[in-house]
């Protein structure tokens, strides 16, 4: 997927005034966020599980090369094939090659954010292969020609009416809007036929278990499981960080992933795939391919201050908790991963210069950090990236701050380095903006705080600092005592 991170402000401002999307985004809080809170409250050892989950991920990422080798060996032992793709293009070409070599006519896709990085469905279609998304949300998005809005709910911004219009050519404005069950039936009737003719499937991977070579898929629709069993070739794609050492670790990770994602104790389906069909088995694909993609993740791995972002298990809890995501929506972030996690990984994976608005689009409220099942300290990494865009100390080309901005902070520093300057600066600022004020508040302030007063009054600087108030008081107290 081509990054469009430069458009953040424009896309955000469009969403802010779209009432229908604002209403849809409300469900992200009342449905997912509150669901997660309830699930966490009903899990006795929730904090213990989070700590354990973080430890598992920290350990795995610290020994990633070892576990990737182990995973590849295990998958091959099970009769599967492994391909390491350095970037999205390599992954895409490999999968296109597989499709062509096997004379594949139809590919069914199950939900996978990594395949969005590759823009795989479009690439297959461009190569003359029918490629259909089978996750209901992804299917809707594909019909709409859009990209996913949310990590686990790609079509969360669509109303039922939007969905009806996309699923049925006959649906007209003013028709009664079908309910969710009816909509699902409409999609099912279309997708069944595609399943029947599909000769290859592409699925994501929620976790790959290094010791057993199994992949785990978490879904609430049967189509994910059907994708792994019906077509003759199954290709699973994963980012290289989506790995756990053992089945025991998988058990911990599934518990925190599912509760954090939807608030369920367990999803409707948890599918484990252990390679292609064995000679004595009746079902399953003839071939199993695992594509493990880097696509810039080695840069996250190499930077100690950003590495923790590889712990992400893509549950979406940080999006649901984030007050900014819930206002600007998923498309504003301009690449595959929206929300707080997107604001830290997109800049590193796609280029910080273009994505410089992303780390700045945060009030640093910390709701993402609190919600994260593996305790990723997202605010800390947002600050790290802000530092790079402000000062360009890591790479001078990443600096996007304006000369004006730099001058403001330089002046700020000067003012804070001595108490007399601090007081004098405040008094001068007060004299300058006082004519604009009424009753201690300003309705229209000059730059650099003009943005504030578009929607809010700004407080006038106090006539006396706390220091001078307290010194007067001390004098009075002393006089009283005398």
């Amino acid at each position: 997927m081509k990054p469009q991170t430069t458009h953040f402000r424009f896309k955000a401002s469009q969403t802010l005034v779209n009432d229908q999307i604002q209403q849809s985004l409300e469900h992200v809080y009342t449905g997912f966020h509150e669901g997660r809170l309830t699930a966490a409250a009903n899990t006795d050892n929730w904090e213990e599980l989070r700590t354990k989950g973080k430890a598992i991920k920290d350990h795995t990422i610290a020994h990633l090369d070892h576990y990737l080798d182990l995973l590849a060996d295990s998958v091959e032992k099970n009769g599967g094939h492994v391909f390491f793709a350095d970037d999205a293009e390599e992954a895409r070409q490999h999968i296109l090659g597989l499709a062509k070599a096997n004379d594949v006519k139809t590919v069914i896709k199950s939900k996978s954010m990594v395949s969005e990085e590759m823009a795989l469905a479009d690439a297959l279609i461009d190569a003359g292969i029918e490629a259909v998304e089978t996750d209901l949300g992804e299917y809707i998005i594909q019909l709409a020609g859009e990209t996913p809005y949310h990590l686990i709910a790609p079509a969360v911004h669509k109303s039922r009416k939007d969905v009806a219009a996309l699923l049925s050519d006959d649906f007209k404005d003013g028709d009664p809007v079908p309910d969710a069950v009816q909509l699902t039936r409409m999609a099912r009737s279309k997708l069944r036929a595609v399943f029947e003719r599909a000769d290859m499937s592409v699925t994501g991977v929620n976790f790959a278990v290094a010791e057993s070579g199994s992949i785990a898929l978490v879904t609430n629709e049967g189509n994910g499981r059907m994708s792994t069993s019906v077509p003759r070739i199954h290709v699973a794609v994963m980012g290289m960080e989506k790995i756990v050492p053992s089945i025991q670790d998988l058990s911990t990770m599934l518990r925190i992933l599912i509760r954090s994602a939807t608030g369920q104790r367990i999803s409707t389906y948890v599918t484990m795939v252990n390679g292609p069909r064995k000679p004595d088995e009746e079902d399953g694909p003839e071939e199993f391919h695992l594509v493990i993609m880097n696509n810039g993740r080695d840069r996250l791995l190499a930077e100690t201050r950003m590495r923790e972002s590889l712990n992400c298990i893509r549950c979406g809890a940080c999006l649901n908790a984030c007050p900014v995501y819930r206002k600007v929506g998923g498309h504003a972030y301009g690449w595959v991963y929206p929300g707080p996690i997107g604001s830290i990984v997109s800049p590193v994976l796609t280029g910080l210069k273009d994505a410089s608005n992303l780390p700045n689009a945060s009030s640093l409220c910390g709701a993402c950090h609190s919600a994260c099942p593996v305790k990723i300290n997202i605010p800390r990494m947002l600050l790290e990236l802000r530092w790079r865009t402000a000062e360009g100390k890591v790479d001078a080309r990443e600096r996007t701050s304006s000369i004006k901005e730099r001058a403001v902070w330089k002046a700020w520093r000067f003012g804070m380095m001595g108490r007399r300057r601090f007081d004098l600066g405040a008094r001068v600022a007060r004299i300058m903006i006082r004519p604009l004020s009424r009753g201690g508040w300003i309705k229209k302030a000059p730059p650099p705080i003009s943005g504030w007063t578009v929607t809010r009054d700004f407080p006038l600087i106090s006539p006396k600092s706390l220091k001078s108030l307290l010194s007067v008081r001390t004098k009075h107290t002393k006089r009283d005592l005398d």
Partner: protein, 259 residues
């Protein structure tokens, strides 16, 4: 993290770090904090040289500008004994949680920063830890709701104490705020850099506030106070936003000096 051992000696003397914003924009908050602390029998020192902890520049990414200001903060406060109290969870978070990142290339400063951070308490945290939330016996006829300031709640991890302090004020009606723990949209420079997003978040907060019917909203950080008050004023609402130190000081004043 500050020492979490059980309450032992109640400090007789503390040092107040006002924060730059309280010092110049809301000195009443600092003044109120002093009154409340004195009410608890604590003598409050105010080092007159203090300015800022460096957070505004740090949060905007300008670490090289924040560094000397933060170093100055350490130099000033490492020379005072006993607890340091700040009426801001945000400044407390800067010193305790983020000085580590700011000084990570200077082990000497890092250690000095850690020692200052160990003695630095947010205002309600300090009262809760050394005196208990029932130590202030004030009364006030008002109806309030409480907004959980983000950095106090999630960076410092203080949830209960501010609410307990309020519920222990006699005569005060405390109405729960829907989504009290959701940010008000302030976020320092964010509120000016991305005012439309900041305001959209604020509007949701203000709707929830108005819905409580409370006459005042209490918050624990001056940033939240100005963001919410600025928005309410623009709406033409008469709801007042106050810092928790102010309402506690009011409750003591109306009760009188006798304890």
């Amino acid at each position: 993290m500050p020492d979490t051992s059980p309450l032992t000696a109640r400090p007789l003397r503390v040092t107040l770090f006002a924060s730059c914003m309280v010092d110049q924009l809301a000195p009443g908050v600092g003044f109120s904090a002093v009154e409340v602390l004195e009410h608890l029998g604590v003598q409050v020192d105010f080092p007159g040289d203090q300015t800022c902890c460096g957070q505004p520049a740090f949060n905007s990414g300008f670490r090289s500008q924040a560094l000397p200001v933060a170093t100055r903060f350490i130099e000033l406060f490492e020379n005072v004994d006993g607890p340091i109290v700040v009426p801001s969870g945000s400044c407390a978070a800067m010193v305790r949680n983020y000085y580590g990142d700011l000084f990570d290339r200077d082990p000497g400063l890092l250690e000095r920063a850690r020692r200052v951070g160990e003695r630095l308490y947010e205002f309600t945290e300090f009262i809760d830890k050394f005196f208990g939330t029932d130590a202030i016996r004030g009364s006030l006829d008002d109806s309030v709701t409480y907004h959980k300031s983000c950095h106090l709640l999630r960076e410092i991890g203080i949830d209960g104490p501010p609410l307990e302090l309020l519920s222990n004020v006699e005569g005060l009606t405390l109405t729960p705020l829907n989504r009290a723990d959701v940010c008000c949209g302030f976020g320092g420079a964010f509120s000016v850099k991305m005012p439309d997003i900041s305001s959209a978040i604020l509007n949701e907060k203000l709707d929830n506030i108005v819905q409580t019917g409370a006459k005042s909203v209490v918050a624990a950080d001056t940033g939240c106070v100005f963001q919410m008050q600025g928005g309410l004023r623009r709406r033409g609402s008469s709801v007042r936003v106050v810092h928790i130190a102010e309402i506690l000081a009011d409750s003591i004043r109306s009760t009188g000096p006798d304890r």
